[in-house]
């Protein structure tokens, strides 16, 4: 028997450069699950629509999925995930997406929304903690923020800044670098005078590359770090050796790690290491499939059942691709663990794992 799931992807829109590998991860995972008879005699049938990051098209794609009877949805970006929050809740269809905004982890706001890696804010907190823990000097570390004027760059800011103060950072600067920027010299000039020790880049890979290259030109000795979408394999091509030494916090493991999941993936791709985003697509689908499997075991496969099973997951390990995930009916934060990577020799090297406390006041913030 086939179980339908909806897959919203951006294959041709503004986020397609990362949307394509993510969608590939989702599809490969489905293929793997079906081939390995993960759901017994049942198979997953993904219904994929490329919505080109257009909300209206996401909406009608979702309605189409609904009429076809999907039990769960693999979503993609901020635009579609937020636009569909109310609908998935009404229709009781759990939505697993790659928009890791913290406010989606609060079931009061978004009862049917899930994702499988730590949210943007938690990740930022994680890496801040990591740096602080490794801080040797007496004085307070100086911290700056660079981010695009875009919902994606703005969401983790408030929580991150508050936590930085709590940890004893001195926040010295705030700059905007657009996602499509060609140049960040002026912003970096402003920052350079403040000599931050660390600088968070809240953009995507192209803007990270611009910042890193310009920082190299300005001979800044700041340590730059980014969140999930800020560093991927493209950066090594774009920024070359300017990327060396930058840090990134990732929710999922990457192709350079030795995990059970990675072996399967390399088999699926014929040995080619896919982009980091692929791994999260894979993991997200894997977790969803586990919930579906458990629902099937109990004999009722509805969206609501899948959601309940997801909320019942405790320390579930998706083949080592992400830290173990747990969801609770009143807390959709999948994990408080972040993997810290560093760019070394044109590769992402895992340099640490940071585990935060699951504080109630951080939920949704």
């Amino acid at each position: 028997e086939t179980i339908k799931i909806g897959v919203l992807s951006d294959l041709s829109g503004p986020t397609s450069s990362v949307g394509v590998p993510y969608a590939k991860g989702v599809q490969d995972c489905v293929r793997y699950l079906n081939e390995s008879k993960f759901l017994g005699e049942h198979t997953l049938q993904p219904l994929q629509v490329d919505y080109a990051y257009n909300v209206q098209q996401a909406l009608s794609a979702y309605k189409k999925f609904k009429t076809e009877g999907i039990v769960a949805l693999q979503g993609w970006g901020t635009a579609d995930t937020e636009a569909l929050t109310r609908f998935v809740a009404q229709d009781k269809i759990p939505c697993f997406s790659a928009s890791y905004s913290a406010h989606l982890t609060d079931p009061k706001n978004a009862p049917y929304n899930f994702f499988v890696v730590a949210d943007y804010t938690s990740n930022l907190r994680g890496i801040l903690k990591f740096f602080k823990d490794n801080w040797k000097e007496e004085r307070a570390p100086k911290l700056a923020f660079i981010y695009p004027d875009h919902p994606y760059g703005l969401t983790p800011l408030e929580g991150g800044k508050a936590y930085a103060k709590e940890l004893g950072y001195e926040v010295v600067g705030d700059e905007h670098v657009d996602l499509k920027a060609m140049d960040a010299t002026s912003q970096l000039l402003a920052l350079k005078s403040k000599a931050p020790d660390f600088c968070w880049i809240g953009g995507t890979t192209p803007s990270t590359s611009v910042v890193l290259k310009d920082a190299q030109k300005l001979k800044m000795d700041t340590i730059f770090f980014t969140n999930i979408w800020g560093i991927d394999e493209d950066l090594f091509k774009l920024a070359g050796d300017a990327a060396e030494g930058a840090y990134t916090v990732q929710g999922a493991s990457t192709g350079y790690d030795d995990t059970a999941g990675n072996k399967i993936i390399l088999e699926l791709t014929g040995g080619q290491i896919p982009m980091t985003h692929y791994y999260r697509g894979f993991a997200s689908t894997y977790v969803m499939a586990e919930a579906i499997r458990r629902a099937l075991e109990k004999g009722t496969l509805t969206g609501e059942a899948v959601k309940n099973e997801t909320e019942a997951l405790r320390d579930f390990d998706p083949l080592g691709l992400t830290p173990p995930v747990s969801f609770f009916p009143d807390d959709h934060r999948p994990t408080m663990t972040s993997f810290i990577y560093k760019v070394e020799g044109g590769k992402l090297v895992k340099v640490g794992t940071e585990v935060l406390e699951r504080k109630a006041e951080w939920l949704g913030k």
Partner: protein, 348 residues
């Protein structure tokens, strides 16, 4: 006095009526009946498309009033629709009943539209278009940064429309609501066009120098066009926000402005009927393309990524082909079709 197709009018008033002659009335009634029956036969996917069409009709008609009738090119319409969505959402969140919030949102958008219409005092053609492009970007900036009202990057979560205790939370109910609003707006726009204000708009578009000499206050009327058009855009935005129950900045970008302009062009500039056709066509187009690329991918799986990438190109191609081969839009096709039907057994 004799009108088209053998109708005789006994008064000027009759000639000016909205629906001329029994046949037209009957046809309209039939169309309305079919539309009203839709929720009983269609699934929620199809209904949601119809709802989006209804909303798009309101938006497209409003832009056609401004750009098609009054000749003021606007590249900021998407943002105006966004203003409506935010205003309506913010008002209902404050406890204002939907029935009040929707027109109020229209008025707020009208005020915004007038503000950004001020440059039309001095600017024409492409220069005005660029000034409205500025409006688009400035408004987007405000959506994202006026946290107190717009919720900033998080957006606004709003409840489904609620009118006198009736909650429009299903596609069926929402369909009737949006249909009602769309028809109301169509009637209003048609009325406008047969009155002195509508004529003044067209006069400004065709020859603003002589319009002024004839006694049309150019600035006042251009602003009025911006106001009326933005009001309707605000209503469309209010509907859209409440249908989605979530208002975020993303949907109201330049892309939306362009697709509304495309609706006007493809349907027929300056024609209310055309705007309707354009809205229907351009809302359906991506659905059809998605369907086609699905079918294509299942036949040639290797080509699926190409098919996906080609979708936007098809949108562009449709636009270009229409402009080249049917600059007057679908509305002219429809007229030709009607003429052909009338003569049908004896065509040629």
């Amino acid at each position: 006095m004799q009108g088209k197709c053998g109708l005789f009018f006994e008064s000027y008033r009759e000639e000016n009526a909205l629906l001329v002659g029994g046949f037209q009335k009957a046809r309209f009634a039939a169309l309305l009946a079919v539309l009203c029956a839709c929720p009983f036969v269609l699934n929620s996917y199809h209904l949601s498309i119809l709802i989006l069409i209804n909303i798009a009709v309101v938006g497209a008609v409003s832009l056609n009033l401004l750009t098609g009738m009054c000749g003021q090119i606007s590249l900021g319409h998407g943002a105006f629709i966004g203003v409506g969505a935010y205003a309506c959402g913010a008002l209902t969140l404050q406890g204002v009943p939907f029935l009040v919030a929707l027109p109020a949102a229209g008025c707020i958008t009208a005020a915004t539209g007038m503000l950004f219409g001020i440059p039309s005092l001095r600017l024409k053609g492409i220069y005005l278009a660029i000034a409205t492009l500025a409006a688009q970007l400035i408004l987007q900036y405000i959506f994202l940064h006026w946290d107190a009202v717009t919720g900033g990057s998080t957006g606004l979560a709003v409840d489904p429309p609620n009118i006198a205790g009736l909650t429009f939370d299903t596609d069926e109910k929402m369909f009737y609501l949006s249909l009602g609003v769309a028809i109301l707006m169509l009637v209003v726009a048609t009325n406008l066009m047969r009155s002195r204000h509508g004529r003044a708009f067209v006069a400004i578009r065709d020859f603003y120098l002589s319009a002024e000499i004839v006694g049309v206050n150019l600035f006042a009327y251009k602003l009025m066009a911006f106001a009326v058009s933005s009001f309707m855009a605000g209503v469309a935005g209010g509907l859209w926000g409440h249908y989605l129950q979530f208002v975020t900045p993303e949907p109201f970008g330049l892309g939306l402005s362009i697709s509304y302009l495309a609706m006007c062009i493809i349907g027929g500039l300056g024609s209310i009927q055309g705007a309707v056709f354009g809205a229907v066509f351009l809302t359906l187009l991506p659905e059809v393309l998605t369907w086609l690329s699905d079918v294509g991918s299942s036949v040639f799986p290797a080509a699926s990524l190409y098919l996906v990438a080609a979708k936007e190109g098809v949108f562009g191609l449709v636009l270009v082909l229409f402009l080249i081969f049917e600059p007057e839009g679908l509305q002219r096709r429809w007229r030709l079709f009607k003429a052909w039907c009338k003569l049908f057994p004896f065509a040629y």
